[in-house]
Symmetry: C2
DNA sequence: AAAATCAATCGTAAATTTGCGATAAGAAAT
DNA sequence: ATTTCTTATCGCAAATTTACGATTGATTTT
């Protein structure tokens, strides 16, 4: 194997997405967002048996990797899947598994 | 969302696979195994700038989640992709991304 | 039988992750 | 202006992950 820069970049990108998916709660949040189109932090706090701060932290991670985005609807925040990055992640995983 | 037992089981399984993929080295090891069909621990130690014990640890994680399997070829061990579980992981990710 | 080879495991340190309660920050409603 | 509502952030503890060198165990070669 060559392990050139392109390969390493691709590998890191995939590992980053995988890391974001590496927790059941974050998987469930994304599934929820897929079904509901969008939702507020509070909705998730009602669904999952976790503290509000914990949910917020998971949302932060998903936002950091770009899988979701938050839209200000004061005083709430509406979270949605970031379709562009979602597609990128999908493609990376598809390619990885052939 | 229902969050029934089936859903939770599926979610945990996917998160587990994701966790195994959540490190660039493990992604690269799997890619390497895909290309080479199979290989020995020592081959990987030559490819990656990591200690032998570290590579061994990553292999252990991949084995734990079932993505690879080791066949004894004394004094070496030949590692291969576990095709059955690979397919399962592939399907889980495919379903997840629709 | 002794030395060499290969890979797993142990022990340990540093970094990261996960979870919580408490607090802060922002806008809306009173 | 004060209170209320919603969510982010801080500070902290516990658990997990990552990496390494050293050691061990098993097998092969000498």
């Amino acid at each position: 194997m060559k392990r050139d820069l392109e390969t390493i970049k691709y590998t890191k990108a995939l590992a980053n997405f995988a890391k974001a998916l590496a927790h059941p709660t974050r998987i469930a949040i994304l599934k929820h967002l897929e079904n509901q189109t969008c939702c507020f932090t509070g909705d998730l706090v009602d669904v999952f048996p976790l503290a509000q701060s914990t949910i917020s932290q998971h949302l932060k991670e998903l936002k950091k990797v770009g899988l979701i985005q938050g839209e200000l609807k004061p005083p709430k925040i509406k979270y949605c899947i970031n379709q562009k990055n979602w597609k990128i992640a999908k493609t990376l995983f598809q390619d990885f598994f052939n």
